[in-house]
Amino acid sequence: MLFDFVFYMFAVIVIVSAMGVVFSKKMMYSAFSLLFTFFGMAGLYVLLSADFVAVTQIMVYVGGILVLIVFGVMLTSKITGVDIKTGTIGKIQLTVGAITSVIVAIILLYTYLSVEWMTSQFQVEVPTTTHFIGFGLFTEYLLPFFVAAILILIAFIGAAKIARRK
């Protein structure tokens, strides 16, 4: 009962705020709606017993990416915010958008119907996922982990290089 209530609460938060991101005409509203989307997603992760992923979600997306997005919007537009026109769309955009949406909808629907879903049990007390994540990263998924690390290092060096060039 409580589990269902909490799940639907977070689901509503995610859906409503995601709609806010897409439909609001002000860039800043979209950016701040994203805050609630990320928060709701973190809540859903917790319900799936993925505590570490949930906290990482808040840490990375709210603490890092969202702040960067907001900074970007603040720096590139006037203080009052720039309006994104949602009313004027050409025929090509409309066609391509409609086709893409239909394809995505079919894929999602097919996945939803064909996969046998495992539902998480609320009463199961999962001790901690941190240990397993750490263990997995340094055994089975060592190569992807290192590739990601090197990618980030390259990005660091590139950013420093671009920033230095005057």
């Binding site: 570490f52 808040i58 709210v62 969202l66 900074f71 603040m74 203080i79």
Partner: protein, 350 residues
């Protein structure tokens, strides 16, 4: 694991217990805020050789209550040109972020609202809401000073998060856990086993003490920046940008920003206490180490750091923006890395 929560012992795990647990930190937070406001007024006065508030109650001890009543009945002004929805939302996001951190703060071995295994990581992540709220308030105020304040706050908090994260990581490595209760349990048995003295271990741990003390100082300096306290209060530097991100706020909305700042002060002090000073452990080992005494020790240790923050506020001048960035990126970050490797080495050979 044994029962860690006296509320569950009394009521069992039901919805009443959950609601009570969610409200209990507030029962601490409200009196704490009054004490901290009085502390701020009185300590600033003593440092400046004044008397401070003297007229409300004996020696002015009722002054914070008068302040709260004043703030409650003030007119809630929303300037005409602000972005209303975001302007009104920002104080709530700020306070929600600050209060959410209390969910995992262990006040005693018998009381922690939610004992999750990644408590340390959670507190660190949830502070992101404060950054977003400050940027939100600064932007929505539609005012150059507020916008500058908000951007300064975000830049500062993001920069100082990194040395803080390294310090937290070092202690997590030393303790081998992100669970706050676990970290505190390991520091039991007298003050010599606290993490500031290298954690529990034989005499050979002495070589690591300079590094843990360094990490402690780095965390403390970084936490001052995280809470926007002097000498890192450039987001609200009066002499440059009026009051920064809360320039346009008044009445209760201002009070919520203010309340969140005080609550953040306690949070960072509590984290320092948990990481380095043994949390609720008594400094004398098992002596005076019952559950109620533990709450006493925890609050006393944390309040010591709140006092320290107030003391520093009225003693030090404010840093310039470039100095601020210099301190974190070129001084604190390299030092924290060196200290981290030393502590990690200690954790390996232990």
């Amino acid at each position: 694991m044994e029962s860690v929560n006296f509320v569950y012992d009394l009521l069992g795990k039901n919805i009443v217990a959950y609601i009570l647990l969610a409200l209990l930190p507030m029962a601490f937070l409200l009196p704490y805020a009054l004490v901290a406001i009085l502390g701020e007024l009185k300590i600033s006065a003593w440092i400046q050789e004044r008397l401070g508030p003297m007229r409300t109650g004996w020696k002015g001890v009722l002054q914070p209550i008068a302040e709260v009543v004043k703030l409650l009945q003030k007119e809630d002004i929303t300037p005409a040109a602000v972005n209303k929805p975001l302007f009104n939302l920002a104080p709530f996001v700020m306070f929600a972020g600050a209060y959410a951190a209390y969910a995992v703060i262990p006040f005693s071995s018998k009381f922690v609202p939610v004992n999750i295994n990644i408590g340390l990581f959670y507190v660190f992540a949830i502070s992101a809401f404060g950054v977003i709220a400050i940027v939100m308030g600064g932007w929505a105020s539609n005012n150059k000073y507020s916008l500058l304040g908000g951007m300064r706050a975000a830049a500062q908090m993001i920069s100082y998060e990194i040395p803080i994260a390294v310090a937290i990581l070092a202690i997590a490595t030393l303790a081998g856990s992100l669970d706050m209760q676990e970290i505190i349990y390991q520091q039991g048995g007298g003050f010599w086993n606290w993490n500031i003295f290298g954690g529990p271990g034989s005499v050979t741990k002495i070589w690591v003490i300079p590094f843990t003390v360094t990490l402690f100082l780095i965390y403390f300096i970084g936490s001052l920046a995280e809470t926007n306290r002097v000498p890192f209060d450039i987001p609200e530097g009066e002499s440059e940008i009026v009051a920064g991100y809360h320039t346009e706020y008044s009445g209760m909305k201002f009070a919520m920003f203010f309340f969140a700042e005080y609550s953040n002060m306690f949070i960072v002090s509590a984290i320092i206490t948990i990481l380095f000073l043994g949390g609720w452990q008594s400094p004398f080992g098992d002596f005076l180490n019952g559950p109620v005494w533990q709450a006493f020790w925890f609050v006393s240790k944390a309040m010591l750091f709140v006092f320290l923050q107030i003391w520093l506020r009225w003693t030090l001048p404010r840093l310039r923006v470039d100095q601020l960035m210099y301190v974190t990126w070129k001084v604190m970050l390299p030092i924290s890395f060196v200290a981290f490797f030393a502590v990690a080495l200690c954790a390996m050979i232990k």
